[in-house]
Amino acid sequence: MIDPRLVLVLSAVLLSLGVVGVLTRRGAISILMCVELMLNAGNLAFITFARINGGPEAQIFVFFVMTLAAAEAAAGLAIVIALFRLRGTTDVDEINLLKW
């Protein structure tokens, strides 16, 4: 049978990969995608703990996180579209109008 600690380490690896992605990527949409990666790592840990403890609470939490991620992706992408219309690029290094 599977060792739950292995699954949790897998989710930790996924989380760190997502963090590196957010810090390294330049396109706004790519950063959003790495954030989704991190959210999924968290969901995986939740489901593992749900299986360990046996109740539906953690699964409900995952359900809500998924819904929230959908709402956040939609709103974030709308912001990226608006930004693209304004600046012509989604490169986050170019979006520095408020810099002194």
Binding site: I2, A12, V20, I29, L37, F63, L77, A78
Partner: protein, 165 residues
Amino acid sequence: MELIAFFVLALLLIASALVVITNRNPVTSAVALAFNLVAIAGLYMVLDAQFIGLLQVIVYAGAIMVLILFVIMLLNLREEARAHPVGTFQRILAPVTTLLFAIVIGRAVWLSAPSSFPEKTEGFGTAASLGKELFTRFYYPFEAISLLLIVAMIGAVLLAKRKVS
């Protein structure tokens, strides 16, 4: 049997995550992320959370990723420029830092879990058990999140609307 499935899925997971964070073409990243999400759904099914696993495919891989792909194609995003001239120091530092981070968090979760799963409780992961909880104990969060979805939809439409002059 489940161990084989777990290792195959874990391999797919890490490989697609690496593609997501390194590939410069946004469409390739998006498709790799879709694979990643389906692999995670597979892991949920291995862990007996059937409803959440199928929901993951429907919501995440089937809707959110399609939305992201649409926006990438709408904006006609080309290959992303590489980060600023990356020196040797950074090329070594980035993977090492990732590894250290993963080790720290990995050690934390390693100490927090038992070494084998207990027996599956009756009705774990079915739609019926989740639905029962969702409509009784978690009723207010459920209503709140539907409100949040409406707000997000209205916000997205307003933000992305072309200004009619």
